[in-house]
């Protein structure tokens, strides 16, 4: 049996989910451009990233780079 994740009660200071539900949405879209187009049509602030696979398309190196904060 896999170990159960321990659920940590978020504190009021670090729980930003409430802000997501109340602040205006400002979306960064990475991937399907159609999602950005539709949000824009609805008047939602959206920035579409002109993305291409990082690390010359090597997912393992891309994963490593993301962990290093780059």
């Amino acid at each position: 049996m896999p170990e159960l994740t321990r659920y940590m009660e978020p504190t009021m200071e670090n729980n930003k989910v409430t802000n997501l539900l109340t602040d205006p949405l400002d979306v960064i879209n990475i991937g399907l451009e159609g999602f950005a187009t539709e949000l824009k049509q609805q008047g939602v602030a959206v920035t579409h990233v002109d993305w291409s696979p990082p690390a010359a398309g090597d997912p393992k190196i891309a994963d490593l780079l993301s962990k290093l904060g780059t």
Binding site: P10, L20, V27, L32, A56, D58, S66
Partner: protein
């Protein structure tokens, strides 16, 4: 005469999968082309192209960041014409580029620098890269909605734990639907604003429930997607529990609907404990579960329609719909369900099972036979599952995924009723009803009854009423919701007996 195969590799050239699917179809439809695909050269895509007989040695060195043009044609001339057309399409500016948008960030880091108030990353890149992008987003303080699938459960757990420690939400992976403060994200509908919150481990389940609540005079505060695996033991319901906290604290939300497949027992216990601690009321729909021990402030709904009715305070939906009066004798005894929505497919199975009918499915709920079982039963198929969508877009984006299965069902003399969903809204095909009617063509004049429902609202870009009118004009029986379409199908096959 043997075919000609042409490959061309574009190094470091990226386009999203939907754009590439569109181009692939355009090239495949050219004269003299047997098969064609334009795909990023990930290992899984290369396998799909190899299986389709589209690769030659030219593409051997292609890597994940490269694009492969693969064409198989009746002769070299047709292949070269198609290659030229493919290159023309790839070099034509798309979307916002064509509209002259001056600057587009090349990375999430650049985007956040330009938009310091950004609060949500919507990620739909290929699964191999999705976890890395999600991690970058979390570390820049963004909540994440991961539409991408094919993300490992280990990555999902790591991301959700990191998000939890930062007080951020990870919706997904494989999260198709969310509505945040009235804004539909990815595959979602324009519903009425209101005081009912939804937490959904299921995209189409959330779509059906939010639309039914909206049609029934209620409204949605927020619909938070959690991803299909959140309530499994391995993840422990991290996002579901955070969403419960958020909606419980949200003054706009009065009642909360939770929709999921039946969760792991230990996870369910913690979710139920969290519900019991709330002052708000809950509707719980663990689709496929017939009973569940819930606290006094929560009630179990056996179907999506029942969940919407309970959320509306017990108001009956579509009370004037009389399946018995509309039913026609089915010409044969079996129902074939062909669904683009996985949870709509599950709802049908639930209702068939409750009616004592033997059902089989490729996405079987507990107590339903697997499609491979040697049985003479109704077949209810989820066309959005992996075996139908590998290398192809989801049927909600590309309804042609259903075309062949429809023709097969019409030719099958044991099938008396074909039961369908038509799902509209943001993200979905711009006219799925029109496509369905066109693909049926003259088959509509046959004996087989076709019954459908349309998940969506009149405020959606496709307009639900307009979609229903198209279906009805073609002779398709349209019920007001998926559950009612199922009841109508059952009534039709009973008249056959």
């Amino acid at each position: 005469m043997s075919s000609t195969i042409i490959n061309e590799v574009r190094r470091g050239f990226y386009l999203d999968s939907v754009a590439l699917m569109r181009f692939s179809r355009a090239i495949a439809s050219l004269d003299g082309i047997e098969e064609a695909a334009l795909m990023m050269a990930s290992p899984s895509n290369r396998q799909i192209m190899a299986d389709a007989g589209l690769l030659d040695a030219t593409s051997d060195g292609a890597e994940g960041g490269d694009l492969i043009i693969g064409i198989r044609a009746v002769n070299a001339e047709a292949a070269e014409t198609a290659r030229a057309e493919a290159n023309l399409l790839l070099d034509t500016p798309t979307g916002a580029q064509g509209e002259g948008q001056s600057w587009r960030p090349k990375s999430l880091r650049a985007a956040v620098k330009a938009r310091p108030d950004a609060n949500l990353a919507l990620i739909s890149v290929a699964g191999d890269f999705a976890a890395a992008e999600a991690r970058k987003a979390l570390r820049r303080g963004l909540h994440v909605m991961m539409f991408s699938d094919n993300v490992s459960i280990a990555d999902e757990l790591a991301l959700k734990r990191e998000a939890q420690s930062l007080g951020l939400l990870v919706m997904g992976p494989d999260c198709g639907t969310a509505i945040i403060n009235g804004t539909p994200l990815a595959f979602a509908n324009k519903v009425t604003d209101g005081d009912i919150g939804v937490i959904g481990a299921s995209g189409t389940g959330t779509q059906e429930i939010t639309c039914l609540i909206s049609q029934g005079g209620g409204g949605i505060s927020h619909a938070i997607g959690v991803g299909g695996r959140d309530l499994k033991d391995e993840i422990g319901g991290i996002t579901t529990l955070m969403a419960l906290d958020a909606l419980d604290a949200d003054p706009k939300t009065r009642h909360i609907v939770l929709i999921s497949k039946p969760p792991a027992a230990a996870v369910a216990a913690r979710v139920v404990e969290r519900i019991a601690a709330s002052q708000k009321t809950f509707t719980v729909c663990f689709i496929g579960a017939e009973s569940w021990q819930l606290p006094d402030n929560a009630s179990l709904a056996l179907s999506l329609k029942a969940a919407a009715e309970q959320a509306l305070g017990g108001r009956a939906l579509f009370a004037d719909f009389q399946a018995g009066a509309l039913a026609q004798p089915a010409p044969a005894a079996k129902v074939r369900g062909l669904f683009s929505g996985g949870t709509l497919c599950a709802e049908v199975q639930t209702l068939f099972k409750a009616a004592g009918e033997q059902v089989m499915s490729n996405a079987a709920i507990p107590g339903v036979l697997d499609l491979a079982a040697p049985a003479d039963a109704h077949k209810i198929i989820d066309l959005g599952s992996d075996e139908y969508t590998q290398g192809r877009p989801h049927p909600m984006i590309d309804p042609s995924v259903r075309d062949q299965a429809l023709q097969d069902a019409i030719k099958d003399k044991s099938v008396g009723v074909i039961l369908l969903d038509v799902v509209i809204g943001y993200g979905a095909h711009n006219d799925p009803a029109g496509h369905l009617v066109d693909s049926l063509g003259t088959a509509l004049a046959g004996d087989t009854l076709i019954i459908a429902s349309v998940t969506g609202t009149d405020a959606d870009p496709q307009n639900r009423r307009g979609q229903i009118t198209k279906l009805q004009a073609a002779g398709i029986l349209v019920a007001p919701c998926n559950a009612d379409a199922t009841v109508l199908a059952l009534a039709c096959i009973r008249l056959n007996r």
